[in-house]
Point group: C2
Chain length 195, copies 2
């Protein structure tokens, strides 16, 4: 079984927010056929310009996107615009009942909050965005001291590099700790101590 | 003073190999004007397709590339093709006398080796590419146990995620440990303990 992992990207998305998890899901089970994850990007337009000018051509648009099993919403300065973009927020809302897992990295949590997907849950975000998350998700328990917060279907992570750990945690959760450890080892991510 | 940081990309470049350092150099001194680093990508063609299908439009081609002060060569499966591509290898060779620092991540070291830039130096690479590096760089001391190896002008790193540490080390080397620590803090890269 291959799970589809869609990563939503947009102008001023933070580069490591989306590329860290892209790497983790992309190299997991890299010698298996079929691979456990099919990772791809999706955006409202093409190309998008990530932070500091990295230009990316998304694999899919919102309209033609291969149905994800896992949807990951990264952060970055652009989330302050996209959290008020009804096209994006409604698309995230529409995906929610259809996905197995909804993940966010960094200020991607603001978008999940605006979509109402954090109501009654616990969440984290970049340390600099605590007040914004409290405003975007007023019915959410904010846990700034945790690197990622797992509510079952919704998992949020702290800022930027924490997305790597959250993705490894998710791999371990779905496929077992040994698989996550193998991914971390291949990435020479010596800091991963399992879960 | 702003240093230009060019990151060479190519088909089947490993995503985190180039995006990790891109993030580090890109966010360093993010509130300063001018910023200490201007980071961009350069490739032989456009677009390039990184590992697992990430499509990137490089900022520059080899012909029109803004002269870098720092050139970073990432790794990935594509290095086994590009290390035998005289256009790329000659471009790297031509850059060497003009740059302040030449960096590699992962199997990017194979390309520096083929360009003759590791002769008489010490280097490291991805743990799975030790034999290939010994062949590509026969006059080089291979140090597989180190996360990055600094020879002064040439710094190589171990696999994939080690590029983040090598980039933070380089920031600290150029701008001081406090600046590198601030970058790691902003990225919530709690694993960085300084140097």
């Amino acid at each position: 079984m291959t799970r589809n992992v869609a990563i939503l990207i947009f102008d001023e998305v933070e580069v490591l927010d989306f590329c860290g998890p892209f790497e983790v899901f992309g190299v997991t089970g890299r010698n298996q056929t079929p691979k456990p994850f099919n990772v791809y990007t999706v955006a409202e337009k093409s190309p998008i310009t990530a932070r500091n000018g990295l230009s990316v051509n998304p694999t899919y648009t919102l309209e033609n996107c291969l149905q994800p099993d896992i949807l990951l919403v990264p952060g970055g300065a652009g989330t302050r615009r996209e959290m008020n973009n009804p096209t994006i927020i409604n698309w995230i809302k529409e995906q929610f009942p259809k996905v197995e897992l909804m993940l966010s990295v960094c200020t991607g949590a603001l978008m999940l909050g605006k979509a109402g997907l954090l109501d009654g849950l616990a969440a984290t975000t970049h340390f600099g965005a605590e007040a914004e998350l409290r405003e975007a998700a007023p019915n959410t328990t904010i846990r700034m001291s945790e690197r990622y917060v797992d509510n079952g279907k919704v998992i949020t992570s702290a800022g930027i590099s924490a997305g790597i750990d959250m993705a490894l945690y998710t791999v371990g959760h779905l496929l077992g700790a040994e698989v996550a450890a193998d991914t971390a080892h291949h990435m020479q991510y010596d800091y991963w101590k399992g879960q």
